[in-house]
């Protein structure tokens, strides 16, 4: 069974037992990639490498969306994050003339505080998540959420937030121009 058929099955909603097993494996691979790349991203001494690791994390997250049957979100993730936001971040790296090679000065001396805080948060979060949801299974028999459903929901129930979001983007555009403009 190829990954493509698994994904096709996941998109159709009904997963066979093997399919579930493969999807699980696929998820764990994605999760491992995401976490490993994420850790590299926050520890690497090269700014451009960090951006590339972020790219990997975001792709892996898009993969988990596919497993969850949220194909439209996955596609948007690829288009917006990998396409637009990454380019923006790389522009940021370029415009601020970051050192292109290795730079030992990227981390703060007291990064152990950050590590401590992050570890504490992870402990609390994972404890509460396990406590709350234990072994709840994802219902995989139901129909996946199609793009049409998403569109219906956005343009009916969530039309006002949607419009607000477009205004926010406009405001951010203007704000970015105003803030970054030379005058």
């Amino acid at each position: 069974m190829t990954l493509a058929t698994i994904l096709a099955q996941a998109a159709d909603g009904a997963l066979t037992e093997t399919g579930q097993w493969v999807a699980n494996v696929f998820f764990y691979v994605m999760a491992a990639v995401a976490i490993a790349a994420g850790l590299k991203m926050v520890t690497t001494a090269n700014v451009v490498h960090a951006a590339l690791y972020l790219l990997v994390v975001l792709s892996a997250v898009a993969g988990t969306y596919v497993i969850l049957g949220a194909e439209f979100a996955a596609v948007t993730q690829v288009l917006v994050y990998l396409g637009a936001i990454m380019v923006l971040l790389l522009f940021g790296v370029m415009l601020t003339r970051a050192k292109l090679g290795t730079d030992d000065d990227l981390d703060h001396e007291q990064r152990w505080i950050g590590a401590l805080v992050a570890a504490a948060m992870f402990a609390v979060m994972s404890y509460s998540v396990i406590e709350a949801f234990g072994t709840e299974e994802l219902p995989l028999t139901q129909q996946p959420q199609t793009t049409q459903q998403v569109a219906d929901e956005i343009f009916s129930t969530y039309i006002v937030p949607f419009e607000a979001l477009s205004v926010l983007l406009l405001a951010a555009l203007i704000g970015a121009v105003v803030v970054a403009r030379r005058d």
Partner: protein, 99 residues
């Protein structure tokens, strides 16, 4: 599949992002870490959407992607401004809030 495996992945990514925000000096890297945090929230939303069979989770994930785009735009503008004023984007040097 368990709901928890997605939630735990999200929690891990979130904490990695928090670590990045706290440990990095470079403004652009801080922004990248914030993107990581936003993404982990998105995983939660999509996972809960799938769990409840409700498409709203995905809708809000999409909204967050849009908000993230706005956030990166403004954030980078601010970083550029700091760079132009101080010739450095070390967030540790931006300490005008010092009391």
């Amino acid at each position: 599949m368990f709901l928890n495996q997605f939630l735990l992945l999200a929690a891990a990514l979130f904490c990695i992002g928090v670590y990045g925000v706290l440990a990095r000096r470079n403004g652009v890297l801080v922004l990248m870490s914030i993107e990581l945090i936003l993404n982990s929230v998105n995983i939660n939303l999509v996972a809960f959407g799938a769990y409840h069979g409700d498409v709203s989770g995905q809708v809000f994930a999409l909204f967050i992607i849009g908000v993230a785009a706005a956030e990166v735009g403004v954030g980078l503008a601010i970083v550029l401004l700091i760079y132009r004023n101080r010739r450095s984007i070390d967030v540790a040097e931006a300490n005008l809030l010092k009391g």
